[in-house]
């Protein structure tokens, strides 16, 4: 039965036959059936990476297999979402080693996109913390892979967008915490120069990211707020917090009830939002201890916030540029500012070094921006792609819905190796998405 599905950006939308499985044997049957499909978790990538005519959802394959509380080792099936993991591990004094800005993603998705978090410059991406995982290949065989066993399969599965096979089991290391609170600092930066200086100054902090106002011009060009933090120690909590030092943060309270008409978001409203957001911090520096929820997942508090971009949806554009290419970053920001295509959520972060085949992070600056889908957007993004490539950068496939294959091929030096590994384990394109076809990663 076909249903309409879309990922978080609500662009593109398509009809798909969504299949579920609870047991491995059922997945094996799906693997042996003739229709090609793409594995799909909670649909929180932004574009078309987990869209296809047939999708196989992992959401019913979501069981915890083991949790070693002494060693901090966690093992689960691929459809388990991070929010469920936090509910179990936080009260026992453990945290996710790496988490993206939403907890509503599956572990399988975390591996398939090889997600990064605010701690990338210290802890790397999610795949750095995997001990081993099971992947079911297109022929139904189940292989256990790790950096030592079937390293080619392991490397191509981390960040490989589900094209090597279906991840069924993942075992990974957790991070020890004394409390579930975060000691955070917010620092106002007057302009881009100032912001980059602050990143440098505060790079010893485990967690860091910045919100940036991409519409500000002149002396205020690139102004923003740097947010850094550390897991709080017991002694840093106030009396009330200290009563429940390992509290699981609350459930979301607000739901965005409908799609906002697309005209609501325009240069003026974004400008006002940015003015208020920047202005809300009166002091240049704020320091406080907050629960992990607002620090790591500020937007999870509003369910369906993506509806704010209207029913045409939006595209999230995330690129990374090498540290030496600050000039490229400036050029792109100026281009966006000139075009008046401001985004409510423009997030800047500095990535640390990373050695991987197809994962997105590489050492440098990464900027993520939301653009509502409208006429003229795609040619504009093509133009940005050219700048990104010119300065040695690349785009994040999990956010992508529109890049041209040459942009991917030029940005990822090991792409041919990746393609040959996909070909080896998934020779007929049994696992494929509309993205993998567009980017020439599957098929001929």
């Amino acid at each position: 039965m076909k249903t309409w599905i879309a990922n978080w950006g609500n662009y593109p939308k398509m009809e798909s036959d969504v299949r579920y499985f609870t047991f491995k044997e059922q997945l094996e049957e799906l693997m042996k059936s003739p229709e090609p499909f793409i594995p799909r978790g909670n649909g929180r990538c932004y574009g078309d990476a987990s869209l296809a005519n047939t999708t196989v959802s992992t959401l019913h394959f979501n069981r915890i297999l083991s949790f070693d509380v002494a060693q901090g080792l966690f093992e689960c099936q691929s459809g388990l979402t991070l929010d469920k993991i936090l509910e179990v591990i936080v009260p026992k004094g453990w945290f996710l080693p790496v988490t993206p800005g939403t907890k509503f993603i599956t572990v399988g998705g975390a591996v398939g996109s090889d997600v990064h978090g605010k701690n990338h410059h210290v802890d790397g991406s999610f795949s750095n913390h995997i001990i081993e995982m099971d992947v079911m290949l297109a022929d139904g065989a189940l292989l256990t892979c790790s950096p030592i066993h079937y390293p080619d399969l392991f490397e191509a599965t981390c960040g490989g967008m589900g094209l090597t096979g279906m991840i069924t089991r993942i075992k990974f290391r957790l991070k020890k915490i004394e409390t579930s609170y975060v000691n955070q600092k917010q620092l106002k930066a007057k302009n881009l120069e100032d912001l980059i200086r602050l990143f440098e100054e505060y790079k010893s902090f485990t967690y860091s990211m910045a919100w940036i106002d991409c519409l500000a011009k002149g002396e205020q060009f690139g102004r923003g707020i740097l947010i850094v933090g550390e897991h709080a120690k017991t002694g840093e909590l106030n009396l009330k917090q200290a009563k429940k030092p390992l509290m699981v943060s609350g459930k979301p309270k607000i739901t965005f009830p409908f799609n906002l008409p697309s005209w609501v978001l325009n240069t003026l409203t974004v400008r006002i939002f940015n003015f208020l957001y920047y202005g809300k911090n009166f002091k240049p520096k704020i320091e406080n201890v907050v629960p992990y929820e607002p620090f790591f997942y500020p937007l999870d508090a509003i369910l369906h916030w993506n509806r704010g971009y209207g029913k045409k949806g939006f595209v999230q554009y995330q690129f990374v540029l090498p540290l030496s290419s600050k000039e490229g970053l400036i050029r792109i920001l100026k281009r966006i500012s000139a075009e008046g295509l401001g985004s409510f959520l423009a997030v800047l972060k500095v990535f640390g070094h990373q050695q991987s085949m197809i994962s997105f992070p590489q050492e440098g600056y990464t900027l993520a921006l939301d653009f509502p889908v409208r006429k003229g957007l795609f040619p504009f993004l093509d133009e940005l792609d050219t700048i990104v490539l010119k300065y040695g950068g690349r785009l994040y496939m999990s956010k992508d819905a529109r890049m041209k294959p040459e942009v991917l091929f030029k940005g990822y030096p090991q792409i041919e190796e990746f393609r040959s590994i996909v070909k080896k384990y998934n020779p007929t394109g049994k696992l494929s998405s509309i993205q993998s076809h567009r980017l020439l990663l599957t098929g001929n």
């Binding site: 039965m1 047991f23 915890i64 099936q77 509910e87």
Partner: protein
Amino acid sequence: MPTVLILGASSDMAIAISEKFASEKYNIQLAARNSKRLEAFQSDLAIKYDSKVSLHEFNALQFDTHPGFFEQLYVKPDVTVCVFGYLGDNEKGINDWAETQKIIHTNFTGAVSILNIAAAYYRTQQAGVIAGISSVAGERGRQSNFLYGSAKAGFTAYLSGLRNYLFRYKVHVVSVQPGFVYTKMTEQLSLPPLLTATPQQVADIVYNAVIKKKNVVYVKWFWRYIMLIIKLIPEFMFKKMKL
């Protein structure tokens, strides 16, 4: 901690019911064919809810193994929930006695066989709750699924009689009448969203009915009235309808 026995523990509905009871601090006995494949589910419940979860091999169609099955339960359950069922293929069943038998024996004979044993035990204990998941399909036979429906009709009547019989022994029996439920059994059907329950909704209703000792519960509640109307249609009209 009290214990609940889930008969037919592999289905989506059974999994949701087990999880609900575990979250309410019950130990769980999962009984199913090929119970080894429930290991992931066993570890999951044990880790999430700190409950004791055990796996038991059980086949509804092997009636002669039922006494031994109940006998070997080291801890006897306080609550027994009978979830297993088989929709089957009505059209196939009409021409295939094996299919018909499977439908009748899974939904009716097998359920009666194991619940008689549980009932006898609870009677001697003067305590206990039995919950049976029947179906609204058992309230009036329809051309599309009357083999399943008639077996469920038998099961519904059995539960009602058993409730009456066990009342004076302080044992309670709940009849659960789900309408449409989103499960693997119905995955390829296009069901009306308003009338269709999730397995979690069924689980919440089963748990509440057990705790509050309700007699007959519907999921969702308006199915009671839908079925009332369907039962009121005169037979001379009903036989011409395509339901």
